[in-house]
């Protein structure tokens, strides 16, 4: 069971911040996911979350939100739905193999090393039919050796932590136990 307060906090909000939603649904009218012929409503997602009901991993926004911020731009209160969706994705562990490889690279080197990400995601790329685009990508890929950022404290990929020392005084993430 998802805990509303936890998702909202992950997204950098407090529950009160979302009580301002007027229910006008202008977010739904501008949402990019609708351009995919998939009916969706950010307002309904907020409402579901607010009522403490679970949101499933196959919710159209959880699956397809492109993070375009059109909803935020149209919202009278600038509510950042894409950031709530990202928090939900983290909580539901919906990361694709590519996203896991991305985070793995950051945990090892502190940067995204694209050749590593592509290699780690090879089975996924083959299965999902990406290889036909490779020629196009190779046209403009830059090949270089990885740079390891100082202070990286993990030697292997972790999908849930960035592996960087928190030298800036931040307290970092709070406990994730629900």
């Amino acid at each position: 069971m998802q805990k509303t307060e936890h998702i909202i906090e992950l997204a950098g909000y407090e529950k009160e911040d979302l009580t301002v939603c007027l229910g006008c649904k202008i977010c739904a009218s501008v949402c990019t996911v609708n351009d995919l012929s998939i009916s969706t409503s950010p307002q309904e997602l907020l409402q579901t979350l607010f009522l403490g009901k679970d949101i499933a991993a196959d919710n159209p926004l959880v699956r397809y939100c492109t993070g375009c911020y059109r909803c935020t731009h149209a919202c009278p209160w600038d509510i950042r739905v894409p950031e709530i969706v990202r928090a939900l994705r983290d909580e539901l562990a919906t990361g694709s193999p590519f996203e896991k490889a991305f985070k793995g690279s950051v945990a090892i080197w502190g940067r995204v090393y694209e050749p590593y990400v592509l290699l780690k995601a090879v089975p996924f790329l083959i299965k999902e039919g990406y290889l036909k685009h490779m020629n196009r990508w190779i046209e403009y890929m830059g090949i270089h050796l990885p740079h390891k950022v100082k202070g990286i404290n993990r030697s292997s990929g972790s999908s849930s932590s960035n592996g960087l020392n928190e030298s800036n005084g931040s307290k970092g993430r709070k406990g994730r136990a629900l």
């Binding site: 940067r111 090393y113 990508w137």
Partner: protein, 226 residues
């Protein structure tokens, strides 16, 4: 003017052309870019915990502290993340597009013009939204194309989403959104975002997709950047 430079991960790899373009254009205009030493990934859009995401960029700002006041970040995601991490507004974090104002364009050495050429300036999402981190001049690409004699097309799609963010998650979504943009625009697509570049280029067929810096370099005299 001296700037701290944050290239970000894409610009060391798939968008190295943008990296070279930004360095070259700004250098030609008399600016000096120096990389923030040992910078790390900004986290892009991959982390659901906002504190975790912000910490990436806070760390980069710590590395810039005392060395740079003004920072340039070409990748829209990096630019947004850095700007949001600078909670006390201690730095002046700029996108290169905001450096291309009137003074910049009027001092630019012009060798080629754009007469007879059609371009769709495509900004995508993060350069324009959310409004707190959006670039200031939202018609800078159109202004540049018109100023040097080119035809501007595709006004209606300039702020649509290409779905680049989904390219390695749900490819069909990126394909559909990118094709919509390509269908409703004309001529060469001019972009500034590495993800938009990748998405549009993947599905553009024979249509050209270039970085805005390629356009500037052509105007400044380079021959093969269009």
């Amino acid at each position: 003017m001296n700037y701290g430079y944050y290239p970000g991960c894409s610009l060391t790899g798939s968008a190295h052309k943008l990296d070279k373009g930004v360095r070259k254009v700004l250098e030609k205009q008399g600016h000096v870019l120096k990389e923030i030493p040992d910078w790390n990934c900004c986290g892009a859009f991959e982390y659901g915990d906002r504190k975790e995401l912000t910490n990436f960029s806070k760390r980069n700002l710590e590395k810039a502290r005392g060395l740079f006041q003004e920072i340039v970040a070409p990748c829209p995601a990096c630019y947004k993340n850095l700007k949001e991490a600078d909670e006390k507004k201690e730095f002046d974090i700029q996108h290169p597009l905001d450096l291309c104002g009137e003074a910049f364009l009027s001092s630019m050495k012009q060798v080629h013009d754009l007469k007879g050429l059609v371009f769709t300036p495509y900004y995508g999402c993060i350069l324009l939204r959310p409004r707190e981190t959006a670039i200031s001049n939202k018609t800078v690409m159109e202004d540049t194309i018109s100023r040097f004699g080119g035809e501007v097309a595709g006004e209606k799609v300039k702020d649509k989403c290409c779905g680049g963010n989904q390219i390695f998650i749900n490819k069909f979504a990126t394909e559909k959104l990118s094709r919509l943009i390509l269908e409703k625009s004309k001529g060469t697509m001019v972009v500034f975002c590495p993800l938009c570049h990748m998405a549009l280029k993947t599905f553009s067929g024979d249509r050209k997709v270039i970085y805005f810096t390629d356009l500037l370099l052509y105007i400044m005299g380079e021959k093969n950047t269009l």
